[in-house]
Symmetry: C2
Subunit: 323 residues, 2 copies
């Protein structure tokens, strides 16, 4: 057995209990997708130094790698089926880093019913690189697109906004006045997203359009509106914010820009026809996911207008870009 | 439009003509797998400085990234359905590198009927990193495993062995006496694998076990035998070698070790019950893929025995490992 095979057997095989993974002992995985269902596909990756810090605990890195993909599946209304993992490690990497990484990944795979089906383990002279490709399924033709929003639809967002972005700011030494417990909570939200898998079915059966907020509320809202050919006016005082975040904004109003552009919320932004709004609220409540109505879709292809405290909010950088 | 969106629109969207890719304009792709079929999944990646040289032409890198995955699908008997691509580039990367990369990738996607369905584009401070996740399909329950070989089955290999490994040796400055045209051919075999997609259906309908040769003939043969609980004796003089490679071995018999351990052949090694052997030969011939019978599977769980010129061939490093 080579060192690579040994690594796979020790750390990854325990995560591959799905029969289609074939114990990671063959060249490919094979799964039978549910009959009458579409397969929903997503890949998103993390690179050390870009998406996580070298000293970030590896259990959080593992959870984030899987969860950012689960968030996309949820926003499209899909239930997880499984995932592939491509990971590149430096020669002489820490086995304890990997042991903690794979244990957490296995816990998440079980918690989200999204088993490891296969993967690729490489060495790299560069930063650790992790790509997850996640598969979901939903009844044929029912994926919730970005482009289905219509004038009159109500705009909803799940959870609370801005927390991951503020957590990242705190890690970078900004927000020095933050209370310790708030800091810990926000950093946790940055390190370990909470994908809204529980809301997927409610989104699928109610929403006309949806997107998960990964690149920032303002930018992802603009993408949804642009794809749908609609616009919207947002009063940022209606955005759902946790109490401690609201206090930060009260003390420093400029914080609102970090909240609406920072990204990594992994909340779902969706539009719902008014006739379905009550049913959507009930379904979300049954799923135990808070949702907040924040605006009404309007005709027109202008960019969404954001206002805060009665004044237009002009954003320097509306959305995250790697280049 | 962000620089990242612009990059995707200019370079990747032209490759995403499959309707399920949604023009790369949504968060996920959605495809309807053929009814009654299993989905076969594979991910394999390339890292600059590990799997390709920084100055390798990027069209070859693109083809290799997709083809190493297609090779696995073919060995399992699956037909390609599509792929996802995760690519990490340095800030300030060369757009001409990417333009050549994506043009070649698009040509291969068309040639192998394996369209781009989605992907992820990241920046990295490290080497270029490329992960392809390829999907194939085949009638339910018919994937050809590694573990189905039975005593009495005949062992076949497609094409000719050792060429990529010798091409890599030539690039590393070994084999200085190589004729220019042979060198060019071997380097081409290293840079641009030829996956045996054309043989997939013949393998699926005839083979009891199969594996693609990526980590070296000796190592991959050992994996197939180990998974099946069988063994085999190989006379290396029966291995299919091109004329110029045969001449190299005649001049320097030690070359046989590079040939059987070097890897990256991307040929298919498979076992076929004797009653199906003639039919397999005919099907391979119709697919225009040469196949050579190289041995007969025996009971027993000893490692495969390789001999050359009447003596046991003892290998220092039977198979490639990254760690």
């Amino acid at each position: 057995m080579s060192a690579e095979d040994d690594l796979i057997a020790r750390y990854f095989k325990p995560l591959a209990s799905h029969p289609g993974a074939l114990g990671l002992a063959d060249d490919c995985a094979a799964i039978a997708p549910p009959a009458g269902h579409d397969l929903v596909l997503k890949t998103d990756g993390l690179i050390e130094g870009v998406h996580f810090f070298p000293d970030d605990p590896s259990d959080g890195v593992a959870r984030k790698a899987l969860r950012v993909n689960l968030s996309d599946l949820a926003a499209k209304g899909a239930q997880p089926l499984g995932f592939l993992l491509a990971i590149a490690l430096r020669k002489g990497f820490s086995e304890s880093w990997l042991a903690v990484f794979t244990r957490a990944l296995g816990e998440d795979a079980a918690a989200y019913a999204c088993p490891l089906l296969g993967g690729d383990t490489d060495s790299t002279p560069g930063p650790i690189s992790i790509s997850v490709m996640a598969f979901g399924s939903l009844p044929q033709g029912t994926m919730v697109r970005r482009n289905g929003a219509r004038a009159g639809d109500l705009l909803f967002v799940s959870g609370a906004l801005g927390e991951a972005a503020l957590g990242l700011a705190a890690l970078r030494g900004k927000l020095p006045a933050l209370a310790a417990d708030t800091r810990e909570r926000l950093v946790g939200r940055y390190r370990v997203p909470q994908p809204r898998t529980a809301l997927a079915e409610a989104v699928r059966t109610h929403a006309s359009a949806a997107i998960d907020i990964s690149d920032g509320f303002a930018g992802d809202l603009a993408k949804l509106c642009g794809a749908s050919g609609v616009t919207v006016a947002i009063d940022c005082e209606r955005l759902p914010l946790a109490g401690d975040v609201r206090a930060l904004v009260a003390a420093e109003p400029g914080t609102i820009e970090t909240i609406v552009t920072g990204g990594e919320d992994y909340e779902i932004l969706c539009t719902v026809p008014p006739a379905k709004a009550d049913s959507f609220r009930s379904a979300a409540s049954r799923a135990d996911v808070p949702v907040t109505e924040i605006g009404t879709v309007e005709p027109g292809d202008a960019a969404p207008r954001l206002a805060f405290r009665g004044r237009p909010l002009t954003l320097v950088r509306p959305s995250w870009s790697h280049f």
